[in-house]
Symmetry: C2
Subunit: 210 residues, 2 copies
Amino acid sequence: MSLRHALLGVIKDTPLTGYDLVRHFQGTVGFLWSAPQSQIYPELRRMESEGLIKAKVAPRGKKAQKRIYSITDAGMLELRRWATDFMPLPAQRDPIVLKAAFFDLAPIEAVREQLRAHIAQFQWRMEQWQAREDAIRERRAELVEVWLSRQPVEEHEHIIKLKIHALEGLIGRAHAEICWARQGLALCDEIEEQRALAQLQNGKAASAGG
Amino acid sequence: MSLRHALLGVIKDTPLTGYDLVRHFQGTVGFLWSAPQSQIYPELRRMESEGLIKAKVAPRGKKAQKRIYSITDAGMLELRRWATDFMPLPAQRDPIVLKAAFFDLAPIEAVREQLRAHIAQFQWRMEQWQAREDAIRERRAELVEVWLSRQPVEEHEHIIKLKIHALEGLIGRAHAEICWARQGLALCDEIEEQRALAQLQNGKAASAGG
DNA sequence: GTAGTCATGTAAGAGGTTACATGATTAG
DNA sequence: CTAATCATGTAACCTCTTACATGACTAC
């Protein structure tokens, strides 16, 4: 149930509407845990019914309303419990690696395309993570600052370093992914070269034999 | 639908029963894509009904029977299609990293425990992957050899190199994960030291002031 | 006979994806 | 008035998890 805790992790800093949370899930926390809008609204309702968050209904214009959620003591407790409890590694399940193990079934140009996209995707993500890291380090990350303002000053640096460490994990992983894909591209070149060479020698042998 | 293709990827080499596949999913392919037994049997039935595999019912002892599945032309085609088609990156969703972003909410000893387990888990996986890689390279991987025996000899090295490349991706990632967790442990030490130092200075200030 | 392995399932529920659906409000 | 944004949902479907369930066969 990580979505729940990702949501709590944002709401703990400041009260937000479901809509705000949806946006944040494409911005800040979304880099850590992506979730579609259709998952967030029902989850907020469930969390409310379980007392982890509470909603304040606020008017919006003349007729419309919105629900501004804030964390409860029970929610904060649950978040701390989750952060503290041991969590086993999720099962190994990566569709790209699985596919890579069967790349010999695909034309080499399709393999290249997949690997190039892999690089591009991770480079894009890496930039996002890097930007987020910079924002946190330079004290420009709004919600983090709100949270820090409620923590003892001597802990601020520790909190920041831990948050940066989490992002460093993603960046390091992205780096590994990019290296891997580049090696894959090199392997594609090597394979194609050897095929061309074999073709050439085949031709020679044929003309020599014929 | 990666489970389906993981299954096809094994069945393509040699006919197998559901039971055999379950075991393989803790051995060879399971390092790439883990799946519980309760998912494999129904999926095989579905694949059979869709004509991707066909079952040969064989007797087992006197009364019992077993279903030996083998791949059909349609199944082989589907596997090649899947290997060729472009596949977008799965959404970012890693519970451990998410948790790491909120490590400041947990007691430092709990953080250490999580990180130590992280290292141990990935070291274990890494050994499995490494062993698998060695087996493939040294031509001791049974099913891979069955597959190779039906491929042109001049392609053998390419196929092996591609399969090893897939495993190298996992190994590289595991390496990154271990590095990250070690840095986390170092950070824990640092934080604890600084806390102890602050405690000490607080004590001094208190005794000087009081 | 009995323990271990071979063999095959079902079922409830959690979590995630994709698409659809609606309506108020605000900025131009 | 019209388009973009704010705001909140529902529904069908798929995948995966966890647990339960059964029975034949084989080696001791």
